[in-house]
């Protein structure tokens, strides 16, 4: 595997466009929460010129959560977050990667170990003493929000379905969280797509490698994502669209594997071009006059938080357009940047408090709105929101499923 010239050029080339306007520093949710992180411009375009073959004396880059807001707001098109993700990989390969980071970034390993013994695993993860020991031994914060194993996988459910036979096919990339923790979300997604006349193909699939990437373990991340796209590419080559409910994993396929990991692979390219976030896909369907409009009333108040990685798709907030179609649904669109968790960042002992501080504004906005549910497209953000507010947090698909009366 080679690192693409475009990826290298995208990062290094964009660096020179930084005019030091500091808009990224003003927008960075982590820099606002802790003095341990001097901000994306400081650790990115400025520090980049000091990064040589010798380890840097400055490790503040490690406090970047990787949320990507800096790239989003940069008016000069500098790929600040991507520069910093690559720099973190370099720094961690020079300084060594902890056992903790190896463990928390391998979701399929956790899933395969935890699923058969789900009641036991969930009891251990919910036990205060066990969590205290885990914090001391490994460095996962005792209070950090961890999901519960469902005890069965979404893939098992998928294998028991009859094969897709319709001509109007769509491929579902469900990701690890749906497979091991929230298989119900996958079933509802399939129901919503089938309601709209699609035959849903669910190929065997494993992790996209995103948690590994954000922990700076690029080699394994590359082999994960390459293996995943081998399974998805044949469908993309036939012209089928691939929809993702895990918005961060969808973004990994769309651009992060290319731009951050620098994977130069034909399977990845064709998968990337055919991957859609589920809400993006459904809004496009509506624009084409093909989305079924038989939405029943949903007399609920919900807050909507567009997670950072969802914003990285550069598609705005399509979930809001879908919610507009649902009678009696009251939606409070929250104008907060980040919930703090950033995938695995908020799980770490030394970063948990920062993550909670980053999310505090979002949590209080949600509590103030007194919603029936807090809607958010990203699973780790939903777990963090529930942890920070005590409120139920659901994917937009759950609201659509309910409105369709499925």
């Amino acid at each position: 595997m080679t690192t693409s010239w475009e990826a290298a050029e995208l990062i290094r080339g964009s660096l020179d466009h930084c005019v030091k306007c500091t808009i990224c520093e003003s927008a960075c949710p982590v820099a606002a929460a802790t003095s341990l992180f001097p901000g994306p411009k400081y650790v990115g375009p400025q520090a980049e010129r000091f990064r040589t073959h010798e380890p840097s004396v400055d490790a503040s880059l490690d406090y970047c959560s990787g949320c990507g807001i800096c790239t989003l707001v940069c008016p000069q098109g500098v790929h600040v977050a991507e520069i910093n993700a690559q720099a973190r990989q370099k720094m961690k390969s020079q300084r060594g990667i902890s056992l903790r980071d190896h463990l928390i970034s391998r979701t399929p390993v956790q899933g395969k170990l935890g699923t058969p013994v789900a009641p036991l695993a969930n009891a251990v993860l919910g036990n205060r003493t066990a969590r205290l020991i885990t914090e001391h031994l490994i460095g996962i914060h005792r209070s950090a929000p961890v999901p519960k194993f469902a005890g069965h996988t979404f893939q098992r459910w998928a294998r028991r379905r009859p094969a897709a036979t319709g001509t109007d096919r769509v491929v579902y990339f469900h990701g690890c969280s749906t497979n091991y923790f929230e298989p119900g979300l996958g079933e509802k997604t399939v129901a919503v797509l089938e309601h709209n006349g699609f035959s849903v193909v669910i190929p065997p699939q494993e992790c996209c490698g995103l948690p590994l990437q954000s922990n700076g373990i690029f080699d394994t991340a590359r082999s994960y994502v390459t293996r995943l796209v081998r399974n998805l590419a044949p469908y993309a080559r036939q012209g089928y669209k691939i929809v993702a409910t895990s918005t961060s994993c969808g973004l990994m396929l769309k651009r992060e594997a290319i731009e951050i990991l620098g994977v130069d692979d034909n399977d990845l390219r064709v998968v990337s071009e055919h991957t859609y976030d589920i809400c993006e896909f459904l809004v496009d369907l509506d624009a084409a006059g093909r989305l079924r409009s038989d939405f029943g009333p949903v007399p609920m108040t919900v807050t909507y938080h567009a997670p950072c990685q969802q914003q990285g798709h550069n598609i705005g907030k399509p979930a809001l357009d879908l919610f507009d179609l649902i009678p009696e649904l009251k939606v409070v669109d929250l104008d907060r940047a980040c919930c703090g968790i950033a995938g695995t960042y908020g799980l770490k002992r030394e970063k948990y408090d920062i993550a909670m501080q980053v999310g505090s504004g979002l949590f209080s906005d949600i509590r103030d709105a007194h919603p029936d549910a807090a809607v958010c497209d990203s699973e780790t953000c939903r777990w963090q929101i529930t942890h920070g507010t005590g409120m139920t947090s659901v994917h937009p698909v759950e609201i659509l499923y309910r409105a369709y009366g499925l």
Partner: protein, 182 residues
């Protein structure tokens, strides 16, 4: 506390008044049912029957067209990338490929003295009184308006006119569209 009036000077970013103004405008937009999409780059025009029917944007993994009735081009001047100059010295507008007036490749790119005005400072679009960018004296599209530093002809650094031009042309463009929308 100090018993004296306090005033703010808008500065280059991070500018507290600028951030405050941006927040006020964004809140108003959201409350009015508008959508704000960050981070997608406009890469071309969608033209139908002489009208600008929308803009082509680059999003993650692909391009798509956003269709609309009016477009305000506020991509900024040379410093912001709205206007660019290539290695041959040719000046161009980056988002929609509109004709630009500015120093030609055959004119000097730099003047002799350190504090002389840079010739690129005046580069930008020519517009009519309704802020519509012009080509050969005629509006390029009847439903396209320009605002801010993408409009040429000013010497913002020397005149200290940059923020004033941005605010007044942005306000005017919005007013014209509101009038047309009835």
């Amino acid at each position: 506390m100090v018993g004296r009036p306090i005033f703010e000077i808008p500065t280059v970013p991070p500018s507290a008044p600028g951030m405050r103004l941006a927040k006020v405008l964004q809140d108003r937009l959201r409350r009015a049912g508008g959508r704000l999409v960050l981070g997608s780059e406009v890469v071309g025009a969608e033209v139908q029957g002489g009208q600008l029917a929308g803009v082509r944007v680059k999003i993650a993994a692909r391009q798509l067209a956003w269709m609309c009735r009016w477009v305000v081009l506020a991509t900024g001047g040379f410093a912001s990338g709205g206007i660019t100059v290539d290695l041959s010295g040719a000046v161009s507008e980056t988002a929609l490929g509109l004709p630009v007036s500015g120093p030609s490749p055959y004119e000097p790119q730099f003047l002799p003295r350190y504090l002389d005005e840079h010739p690129m400072a005046t580069a930008g679009l020519r517009v009519d009184p309704l802020l519509r960018p012009l080509a050969h004296g005629e509006p390029v599209y009847p439903n396209l308006y320009a605002a801010g530093a993408v409009i040429g002809g000013a010497r913002p650094v020397r005149e200290k006119s940059g923020d004033g031009i941005s605010l007044s042309t942005g306000y005017l463009a919005a007013g014209i569209i509101l009038q047309e929308a009835g």
